[in-house]
Structure formats: C-alpha cells, structure tokens
C-alpha cells in the first residue's frame, strides 16, 4: 500500500531524512517511532504530497506521489502535526467543507459528516466554533477531517498529542478499529502507544531508519529496541 524507496530530503545543507526505505502492506498499522526531529514529519509530508523529496520514490496506493499527486491525495487521509483548522468555522461546517472538497456527493455529505463526528466523538460539538474548542477536541476534529470520505490510507502525525488519558484510550481504540479496512501509518514518540496499537514499528533516528520490528509481546521490549536504535548500536 505504501512503498518508500531511498527517500531523501535536504533543507539546504541539512539532511532531514536520508535514504529512507520501507514498505507497508494493506491493512497494516505501522508505528513510526523516533525522537523529536528524527524526520517523521518530513517523511509524512512527502508521502502526502505536501513537500517534494530531494531524491527517492514514494508510492501510495499504487500511485507515485510526485507524478500523480491528485490520485494519492484522493486516497490519503492526513492529520498533520499542527492540526489544520479554520478557527472561524463550526465543527460541522468545517467537516462539510472537507467532505465537499474530497468529493463526497451532496446527498450523502451530511450523513458522512455525522458518521465521522460520531466516530471521533465530536458530535456534541457540531455547532461549536472551532476557535472555542479545547486542545483535545481540536485534535479529534483533526482526526475526523482525515477520516472524511473514508480514505484507504491514513497518515497520522502524533494523533494522541494533547488528549487526556481517557481520550487517548478512545482514540487508540478508534485507530485500532480502522485496521483491516485502512492502512495506517502513525507517528509518535510514546512507546506504549506503539505496543498497544501497532503491528509493526519503524524506528527512525537522525533521518535514517534505525530499526524495523514486528511488535511482539514475546520478543525484546520496545524500550530496549528503541534505546538501542537511537544510541547507534542498531547499525552494527
């Protein structure tokens, strides 16, 4: 579903990511793990067509991102790290706008918006201005806009940031439930989160893939893996 090969992105002389390669099968939930500034967001921005790569190929749902951006964008729901919200709109109006742009037909738009609002638990906030929402609700509205039109691929950049513990549990459950139908790539730096939601973890450090592991209760603990990866031993 997602194929990334030799992806490299330079900002001037600084390499944000260097030769990143990985694959994701349909229906997989993969955790993208790494310290701050490791290149998680950069990789996700390239995959969603927001920023071009300096080198390398990224293919999402069978389409090369740079060559066929529109086809990719139709199939990807994206929650950026900085949740993009038009503050002056109400939750429902904002989601209706997103649905319209994503090509949800006029007849089913209302139902689609109601569906994602219920799914993300923002239905009681439908008529509220986004400006007045708490951080947790904003995060969930952001998640809701990614889910609009039910795209097969979801790219979620730190989806649980700013939520309270109860909401975190709900959102994790929600993401886990997306699994067989959707392919989900989510970034985080919360280790237990990966253990709970993901089937596989890709650890990225200083712009390079440091380790890739199946999440397995019997195997080595995630913490060990992570610490080994970011301390540089993984390369050996």
């Amino acid at each position: 579903m997602i194929e990334v090969e030799g992806l490299t992105k330079h900002y001037g002389a600084v390499a944000a990511i260097e030769d990143v390669t990985f694959r994701m099968a349909p229906g997989e939930i993969v955790g993208f793990l790494g310290p701050n500034g490791a290149g998680k967001t950069t990789t996700m921005r390239i995959l969603t067509g927001f920023a071009p790569a300096t080198r390398g190929r990224a293919t999402v749902a069978g389409y090369e991102v740079h060559a066929r951006p529109l086809e990719v964008k139709r199939r990807v729901g994206y929650l950026p790290e900085r949740v993009p919200l038009y503050e002056e709109m109400t939750v429902a109006a904002f989601l209706r706008y997103v649905a319209e742009v994503k090509g949800v037909g006029r007849g089913i738009r209302r139902a689609e918006v109601a569906r994602v609002m219920a799914r993300c638990g923002v239905d009681e906030m439908a008529g509220r201005l986004i400006r007045n929402l708490s951080k947790g609700y904003r995060q969930r509205v952001g998640l809701a806009q990614a889910l609009v039109a039910n795209p097969p691929v979801l790219i979620l950049d730190e989806p649980t940031v700013g939520l309270d513990p109860r909401q975190i549990i709900e959102v994790r459950k929600l993401i886990k439930a997306l699994a067989p139908e959707h392919t989900v790539l989510l970034s985080t730096h919360i280790l237990p989160e990966v253990a709970m939601i993901c089937e596989r973890v890709i650890i990225i450090h200083q712009g390079r893939i440091a380790a890739e592991h199946r999440v397995d209760a019997a195997g080595p603990s995630l913490e060990d893996l992570f610490l080994r990866a970011v301390s540089g031993d993984a390369a050996a």
């Binding site: 969603t48 993009p84 706008y97």
Partner: protein, 276 residues
C-alpha cells in the same frame, strides 16, 4: 469546478465570519458615502451658479460629478484591496491550514480561482454601495444608464486587477501584516509611476556623451521605459472609463494586469513542488 466553488464559498464566508469583511465594507461605505455627498453638493453649487465657477452653462453632470466620484470610489477600492487579499494565502500559511489545503485532492487552479473569486465577490459587495449611490443619482438626473454601468464596471475592473496583485503578494508572505504592507507599497508605486514618467524629460533631451554607437540603443531603451511607466500608471486607465468612454486599451490593461498576477500566483503555489 465543484472544488473551485467549495473553496470560493469557504473563503467568502470567512470574510464575514471574521470582522475583516464588515470592517472593509463599512469603511468603504463610510468614505464612499462622504465622498458622494461632498461631490454631489459641490456639483449642486456649481450648477446653481455656473458663472461663479467660470462656466457659461450648467456644467456637464457626467464630467463634473460622475467622473470625479467614480475615480474617488476606485481609489478607495484600490487602497482597501490589500485588506481583502492579505489573508488569502498568508493566513493559511500562518495557521498551518496550508498543510491541509495542499494535501486535499485539489488542483492548484482550483485553489487559485476559488480564492480569487471569493475576493471578487467581496469587491462585488463593495460595488453594491456604489450601485446604490448611482441608483440615487439616476433617479434624479436624466443620464444614460450605459454611462453608469460603464463607470461601475471600470471601477470593478480596476479593483479586480489590484486584487490579483495582493493575492500574489499574499502567496509570498507568511503573515497578513507583511502581505498587506507590501501590497500597499506596490500600489503606491504603481500610482506614482505616472507622475514619475511625467517628470522624466523627453528622450531627445537626454544627451549622452561619449558612448558612440550605443547612443541610439540607450535612447531607445529610455523611451521604452518612459512609455512603460506612463502606461503602467493605474489611475490613467480609469479616467476614460469613468467618463463613459470604453477604450480597448483600458479594458485590456486591467484584464492583462489581473491575468499576469494570477499567473505569478500559480507559479508561486507551484514552487512548493520543485523547491526540493
């Protein structure tokens, strides 16, 4: 097409979900109204005692009221236009919504036209104020409706041209303040271009010594620049339109102006795809 409409609707609604739409329209209505009143009273005084003002008969309504009024309205539109365009892209960049805008299944042209149409719609709302003023005079004065419509369209065209300039600047800046300030500066420069050109001497008068065969090239180049400056002046192209005279070069000036900056806007948006 549907997407252009969706963007346009959202953008236009945003003007009136925030104070900016009301502020711009309110200021415009106030200043245009004051100008309308002052110019109308002035014309009334002139027509009651034409000889005091050096006229032999009642002065022409089109030339002595309609024309100055429409030019005045056009100027206010142009100088308020940065307030309409400043948010178009800079706000998205600043709030981070650009990241969503550019990852939704939208073509660049849908984004550009959608946003530009929304700005034009704002301009149309402002034109309603002018329309009301013109309807009032049309009721009392025997004047050709064509002249009124022509003047209104002239002001609209000029506004549309400057909206495209502001839109382009908004694409290059990260904050609305910068966008508005830069746009405002460019508008001033364009208005002063005409003045500057008038003060430049004729090409024949500048004698350059000791350049030999380069002389004709220099003079030719100078002549081109001088003519360009004269033609660039935005106010010059509103004059005839507000007198009810439609000259192709005036219409073309505004349409090309808008097309040019919309083209640059496209390029500015596109640049994100090749700045790898």
């Amino acid at each position: 097409m549907i997407n252009t409409w969706a963007i346009c609707k959202r953008e236009f609604a945003a003007y009136f979900l925030t104070p900016i739409g009301y502020v711009v329209c309110g200021i415009f209505a106030l200043i245009a109204g004051l100008g309308f009143r002052a110019l109308l009273l002035e014309y009334a005084r002139m027509s009651q005692a034409p000889t005091d003002y050096g006229f032999t008969t009642v002065p022409d309504f089109g030339e002595f009221f309609l024309h100055p009024y429409l030019v005045f309205a056009g100027m206010i539109v142009v100088f308020l236009s940065p307030l309409i365009t400043m948010r178009l892209m800079a706000e998205e960049t600043h709030r981070g919504t650009a990241e969503q805008l550019f990852t939704l299944p939208l073509r660049d042209r849908e984004i550009v036209f959608g946003k530009y149409l929304a700005a034009l719609a704002m301009l149309a709302v402002m034109m309603l104020v002018v329309g009301v003023h013109l309807a009032i005079v049309a009721y009392f004065v025997d004047i050709e409706p064509v002249a009124l419509v022509c003047g209104l369209v002239g002001v609209f065209l000029m506004g549309a041209a400057f909206l495209s300039l502001g839109f382009f600047v908004s694409c290059l800046t990260r904050t609305q303040i910068t966008a508005a300030t830069v746009t405002f500066g460019l508008i001033m420069a364009l208005f002063f271009a005409g003045n500057m050109a008038e003060n430049l001497p004729e090409a024949q008068e500048i004698a350059v010594e000791g350049v030999g065969p380069l002389q004709p090239i220099l003079i030719g180049g100078y002549r081109v620049i001088r003519t360009l400056l004269q033609q660039l002046a935005a106010d010059a192209h509103l004059e005839e339109l507000t007198l009810g005279v439609v000259r192709p070069q005036d219409v073309v000036y505004h349409v090309l102006f808008a097309a040019f900056f919309l083209f640059l806007t496209f390029r500015a948006l596109e640049s994100r795809n090749w700045r790898a």
